[in-house]
């Protein structure tokens, strides 16, 4: 689980530089939530491209916490990148008003997707690609909004567990306040990821590492000391959320179907 931070930083920064420049662009756009994941993605992008080429945005809703916004500013100041605050309240409130009984999960999804709209629009304005900020733990558990915070053009941290995100952030000197704070998607007042998930990131990362990276069977995991119910629950979450990790499924009619037997890499000709 512990990484060679020097090599990982080298790989992730060259990934960002290479993947941005090969499509003929110069810059990246990133949403800063005030949390550790977006702080790490933005830091890696700054190391890769230089601060002038990173455009960061805080995208608060009226119920978002003041602390999150302050932490986003703290990260932007620390990096010295281009920074703007764009409040999404006037964009999403008319939608919420239309549906009086909208649940808080649905509201959270709408907010995440509105942030995605703003970031992709800003990417077009700035000749940039949108930088992803979903880590491996979230991606595996499906703990994110499809085409919301899970949408991006390139994601430097999607193969790092949350535990590794914390470690790498520390190695790169990201302000301690952002590393030490309780993880929250900040979708409603007082929300905490770990309360909502029902387990801690540290615990689930140990399980995920053994299950996914080391390919341990369920029996082995139980023998290793993981609670059987916990193993089943996490496995089931991974299975249920597989659709979110894929492109839309296409019904096959022709001889050569996109994604099935029409297969080219993204980096074709770059």
């Amino acid at each position: 689980m512990r990484l060679n931070h020097e090599y990982v930083t080298k790989v992730l920064t060259s990934f960002i530089k290479d993947e941005v420049e090969k499509v003929g662009l110069r810059n990246v756009v990133v949403g800063l939530s005030g949390g550790i994941d977006s702080a790490l993605s933005a830091t890696l992008a700054t190391l890769a491209l230089g601060k002038e080429r990173v455009y960061a945005y805080a995208l608060p809703y009226k119920t978002s916490s003041e602390e999150s916004l302050n932490d986003a500013k703290l990260v932007a100041d620390f990096l010295g990148v281009n920074f703007d605050v764009i409040e999404i309240t006037p964009f999403v409130d008319p939608y919420f008003e239309k549906f009086a009984d909208i649940s808080r999960v649905r509201k959270g999804n709408v907010m995440a997707r509105m942030r995605m709209i703003v970031l992709f629009d800003k990417s077009a304005e700035n000749n940039a690609l949108v930088l992803g900020t979903s880590n491996k733990t979230e991606l595996l558990l499906g703990y994110g909004t499809w085409y919301g915070d899970m949408a991006s053009a390139l994601n430097p941290i999607g193969d790092l567990y949350k535990t590794q995100v914390w470690d790498l952030a520390e190695y790169l000197g990201i302000p301690e306040k952002v590393i030490k704070k309780k993880p929250t998607a900040d979708l409603w007042v007082g929300q905490s990821d770990e309360d909502e998930l029902g387990f801690s990131y540290k615990d689930v990362d140990k399980l995920l590492y053994a299950m996914i990276d080391e390919r341990r069977s369920k029996q082995e995991l139980v023998r290793m000391g993981f609670d059987e119910g916990f193993v089943k629950d996490v496995y089931e979450r991974i299975r249920r959320n597989q659709f979110k990790r894929q492109l839309p499924v296409i019904a096959k009619v022709s001889n050569r179907t996109i994604g099935k037997d029409f297969r080219y890499s993204r980096d074709w000709g770059y």
Partner: protein, 273 residues
């Protein structure tokens, strides 16, 4: 003495002409520096994750790029990687050896990985031999990436008494843990073993650059016939490195550790009969 240039470069995925130009530039520089042999990585003319681009990027013996490489080989011997289309229109992940204005040898990759992130078996036809051939300098064999990780190839090199083994590769960065680097550890162990057991030089050229989120780690290296590193390129970045191989070192190694003398191929022959 043979002066060898390792071209740790990064091709553009699927753009044959652009890649050929890069090759020609590097070859010209190597000629200027009076190098005898230049070695490029696996699929250096095409890039790695080709998928449906395989047929579009293939070369047959009449292709103009092949002709131009032949011309260059008047001045320097050349190992390049590319997609080879044979007379039956079968497509191979191949390595081409040019020398004295001739395409002297084509190695077709035998072990096509088809697991985890790899899908070579879907697109390429597998080769079925590991040959050693004479060059102007040393008796040489060529292995492409996974070929070198299977014992049969090492044994084939040993039986045919290769003096230098060119291993060209597209090895992805994996397992970057705190105190180990899975792909590098794995490779260096395999290469060192190959050098020691064949008493031969192993010249490993691995690409760099990023494709599909996969970073190729470089770290091109030469192991001497005594299993020692005599040249090592940096990790992750492009580098062109030149060094000398000495035929006398092969002789010395075979006297110091005479593994070839004692080999008993008949044991293997019995097993596979």
């Amino acid at each position: 003495m043979v002066k060898v240039t390792l071209a740790q470069m990064s091709p553009v995925l699927g753009d044959l002409n652009k890649n050929a130009e890069k090759h020609f530039e590097l070859i010209e520089k190597a000629i200027e520096s009076k190098s005898d042999v230049i070695v490029f990585p696996e699929l250096s003319l095409t890039g790695y994750f080709l998928r449906d681009l395989v047929e579009e990027t293939s070369l047959n013996i009449h292709s103009h790029i092949i002709k131009e490489l032949k011309e260059f080989s008047k001045y320097i011997s050349i190992v390049v990687g590319g997609v080879y289309e044979d007379e039956d229109y079968l497509l191979y992940n191949a390595a081409f050896y040019f020398e004295d204005r001739e395409l002297k040898y084509i190695h077709r990759k035998v072990y096509l990985p088809d697991y985890t992130m790899f899908e070579e078996g879907r697109y390429f036809t597998a080769g079925n031999s590991f040959c050693v051939f004479s060059t102007r300098y040393l008796k040489a064999g060529i292995l492409i990436c996974e070929d070198a990780l299977q014992v049969s190839s090492i044994y084939a090199m040993k039986l045919q008494k290769a003096e230098v083994i060119f291993v060209i590769s597209n090895s992805p960065t994996r397992g970057l843990e705190e105190n180990k680097f899975y792909s590098k550890d794995f490779w260096y162990t395999a290469l060192k073993y190959m050098s020691l057991s064949c008493n031969a030089y192993t010249v490993f050229v691995n690409r760099v650059g990023v494709e599909e989120g996969v970073t190729f780690w470089g770290g091109s290296v030469i192991f001497s016939p005594m299993g020692e590193i005599i040249k090592e390129c940096c990790l992750f970045d492009k580098e062109i490195a030149t060094t000398r191989l000495d035929k006398d070192e092969v002789r010395r190694a075979r006297i110091v550790s005479p593994f070839l003398k004692d080999d008993k191929a008949s044991i293997i022959a019995k097993l596979i009969r």
